[in-house]
C-alpha cells in the first residue's frame, strides 16, 4: 500500500469499549447483565409486538418465530429454523432494535428480550437466565446448517 500521512489518533481502551458492540459466537463482546424470557415478555409486548406481532408472528416486520421447515416448496427461514447463533440475536437487537428507538434498551433488557425470542422459538424455557456465560452456550437448531463458500470461492 502507498504510504499515508499517518494522521490516525491513538484510540484509548475506554473509547474503544464505548463503541465496540460486536458480539461474537463465543460470547466475546457480551456485556454484564442478565434476563429471562419471563422478564422479556412484557418488554416485547410493549416495544416489539407493534411491528413483529404478538409472539413474533403476524406483524408488519419480519416474523421472529413460527417454526417450519427449511426444505420443501415453502421453506420457512426464521430465528428458530435458520439462525445459527444465539449471540447474533443479542448483537442485532442491541444495535438495531426497537427500530423506532435503537440503543434505547439496557443490556439487561436486551438479555431479557433475547431470552424471550429464544423461548417463543422453543429453544430455551421461560425461566432460563441469559447472560454472558449462558447465551453463547445456547445450541441453535440450525447451528450446522451452513456450507462455507468462502474461502473456497476465493480460489476460483
Amino acid at each position: 500500500a502507498p504510504e499515508g500521512p499517518k494522521l490516525g489518533r491513538p484510540a484509548s481502551p475506554e473509547e474503544i469499549a464505548a463503541q465496540d458492540i460486536n458480539v461474537f459466537p463465543d460470547g466475546t463482546g457480551l456485556p454484564p447483565g442478565k434476563g429471562t424470557a419471563h422478564e422479556g415478555k412484557a418488554l416485547y409486548d410493549a416495544k416489539c409486538a407493534s411491528c413483529h406481532g404478538p409472539k413474533g408472528i403476524g406483524g408488519s416486520a419480519e416474523e421472529l418465530a413460527g417454526g417450519g421447515s427449511l426444505t420443501g416448496p415453502h421453506p420457512d427461514k426464521n430465528i428458530g429454523t435458520y439462525w445459527p447463533y444465539a449471540t447474533t440475536l443479542f448483537d442485532f437487537v442491541r444495535r438495531s432494535m426497537p427500530l423506532d428507538a435503537p440503543r434505547s434498551l439496557t443490556d439487561d433488557q436486551v438479555y431479557a428480550v433475547t431470552a424471550y425470542l429464544l423461548y417463543i422459538n422453543g429453544i430455551i424455557d421461560e425461566r432460563t437466565e441469559m447472560n454472558a456465560a449462558s447465551l453463547p452456550r445456547v445450541e441453535m437448531p440450525n447451528r450446522r446448517g451452513f456450507i462455507p463458500i468462502w474461502p473456497g470461492e476465493k480460489a476460483r
Binding site: A1, P2, E3, G4, P5, K6, L7, G8, R9, P10, A11, E15, I16, Q19, D20, I21, N22, V23, F24, P25, S50, C51, G59, S60, A61, S69, L70, T71, P75, K77, I79, Y82, W83, P84, Y85, T87, T88, D91, F92, R95, S96, L99, D100, P102, R103, G145, F146, I147, P148, I149, W150, P151, E153, K154, R156
Partner: protein, 394 residues
C-alpha cells in the same frame, strides 16, 4: 407546414409554432446546483419501503431509462435498514481496533489528506434480480427488476493504507465493519479483500458521497455484494473470525434445496440485461433497432455479451462500449432488424475468467428456488407481433 403526415410511430410531425416560444423569451437563470428537466419527472428511483417503517426498504435505479454506464448520483439505488442518517461530517470518526498494533481514530478531514485512487465500478445488492426466483416471470420495467445495481466513479483511500498504519496483526483474518446509521449495520469482511482493492470512499462521481450512499464515508468492495460496502462507516474491528452478524447469517446466505445454506457468498457473478427493448420499452413496428443493455461481473472484465433473437438457439456477439473496465457496468449494443414476427430475446455475458452467465434452469437446478440472493440467470424478453415486450421464462 406545422402539421405533417403521421408516419408509423410518430404522431406529431411538424412544429406547432415557428419559432417555438422558448426562442422568443429569455430562458431561466443560472443555478448553483442543477436538476433534471421537469419533462423527465418519471425518471426516478422507485421506492419500495416497509409500510410500518419508512426508512426500511429499497429504491431502484431506473435502468430502463438510462444509457451509458454511469448512474447519476440522484438515481443510485438505495437499501436502508433504518433510514438515511443525517451525519455531521465534523462529528464523524472512523475507529480501527481489535487485532491491530495501534488502535486508531480518523476524522474525515484526516482521511481527505490520504493518498486516493478512483475507479468506476458497480455496486450491486446481493438481493438484486431476486424476482427471477419467482414461479411466474415478473412484469415490470428492467430497473424495478434489476435496478438494485448502479455504477459510479468512486474516489477514496485504499483501505490497505489505513490498515498498514494501524498495523494489522498476523492473526487478523476478518474486519468487522459497522455503519453509523440507526441500524448500526455490521458485517464481516475477509482481510484478503480489505488488503486487495477495498476503498474508503469519500467521493462519488466527482462530488462527495450522497447521504443515502454513505456520506461522509463508505466502504467500496468492488464486485462484492453491496451489503459489504458498508455505508456511513464508523468502525472496523480486526478479528480472527467473522462476527456472524444477522446480515451474514439470517440474510445474504442462500438456502439450498437440501435445507443447507451457502454462507459467505461475496462475489456477484456475471450478469447481463437488455435494457432496450424491454418491458415498457416496446418496438414500434418492423425495422432496424439498436439492442442496448448492461453487463457486469464481480470477477473482472466482461469479455463478451451474446444476444439471441430466437430464444437461445443462435447467438450473435454484441459490441462492447469502450472502456471495458473490471467490476464495472459495460454497455453492449447490437444493430437488429425486426421483421415483425414474435420471438424471444436473450443476452448472455461471459467474463474474463471464462465464467458464462447461466440459463435459469441451470441456476435453479444448482440452487433451487429459495436462495433469494445472487440471482444472475439469463433473462428472456418475448416480443409480441404488436411489438410489446414482456418477461418470459424461456
Amino acid at each position: 407546414f406545422g402539421a405533417g403526415t403521421a408516419l408509423a410511430g410518430h404522431a406529431v410531425q411538424g412544429l406547432a409554432e415557428e419559432p417555438p416560444p422558448w426562442m422568443k423569451t429569455p430562458g431561466e437563470p443560472f443555478t448553483n446546483y442543477g436538476r433534471p428537466s421537469p419533462h423527465e419527472k418519471d425518471v426516478i428511483r422507485w421506492i419500495s419501503a416497509n409500510a410500518g417503517a419508512p426508512g426500511n426498504g429499497i429504491s431502484w435505479t431506473p435502468l430502463h431509462k438510462l444509457e451509458g454506464i454511469v448512474t447519476p448520483n440522484g438515481l443510485h439505488f438505495e437499501r436502508h435498514h433504518n433510514g438515511v442518517p443525517q451525519i455531521d461530517p465534523h462529528r464523524h470518526r472512523l475507529l480501527i481496533h481489535g487485532l491491530v498494533e495501534n488502535p486508531l481514530s480518523f476524522s474525515i478531514d484526516d482521511l481527505l489528506r490520504y493518498p486516493m485512487v478512483s475507479r468506476l465500478c458497480f455496486v450491486e445488492c446481493g438481493g438484486n434480480s431476486n424476482a427471477g426466483w419467482h414461479e411466474e416471470p415478473i412484469q415490470t420495467p428492467v430497473g424495478y427488476f434489476h435496478g438494485l445495481a448502479s455504477c459510479s466513479e468512486w474516489t477514496g483511500v485504499p483501505l490497505a493504507v489505513i490498515l498498514d498504519e494501524a498495523g494489522l496483526r498476523p492473526e487478523a483474518r476478518w474486519l468487522i465493519a459497522e455503519g453509523a446509521d440507526a441500524a448500526a449495520m455490521n458485517i464481516s469482511i475477509p482481510v484478503e479483500k480489505a488488503l486487495d482493492d477495498a476503498m474508503l470512499a469519500l467521493y462519488q462521481n466527482g462530488e462527495r458521497l450522497r447521504p443515502e450512499n454513505g456520506y461522509p464515508l463508505r466502504l467500496i468492495l468492488p464486485g462484492w455484494e453491496a451489503v459489504l460496502s458498508v455505508k456511513w462507516l464508523r468502525r472496523l474491528q480486526a478479528a480472527n473470525r467473522p462476527v456472524m452478524a444477522r446480515n451474514e447469517t439470517a440474510k445474504y446466505t442462500e438456502l439450498l434445496p437440501s435445507g443447507k445454506a451457502r454462507q459467505f457468498t461475496f462475489v456477484m457473478d456475471a450478469k447481463s440485461i437488455i435494457t432496450f427493448p424491454s418491458p415498457g420499452r416496446n418496438l414500434s413496428g418492423p425495422g432496424l433497432y439498436q439492442i442496448s443493455g448492461l453487463a457486469w461481473s464481480g470477477r473482472g472484465r466482461i469479455r463478451r455479451v451474446e444476444i439471441s433473437a430466437d430464444g437461445g438457439r443462435s447467438w450473435a456477439e454484441s459490441a462492447l462500449q469502450e472502456p471495458v473496465l473490471p467490476q464495472c457496468f459495460t454497455r453492449f449494443r447490437l444493430p437488429w432488424r425486426w421483421d415483425g414476427s414474435p420471438l424471444v430475446l436473450k443476452s448472455r455475458a461471459t467474463d474474463e475468467t471464462g465464467y458464462v452467465q447461466p440459463e435459469r434452469e441451470v441456476l435453479i437446478a444448482e440452487r433451487g428456488r429459495h436462495g433469494y440472493f445472487h440471482y444472475n440467470a439469463v433473462v428472456a424478453w418475448a416480443v409480441a407481433e404488436d411489438g410489446t415486450v414482456s418477461h418470459v421464462y424461456a
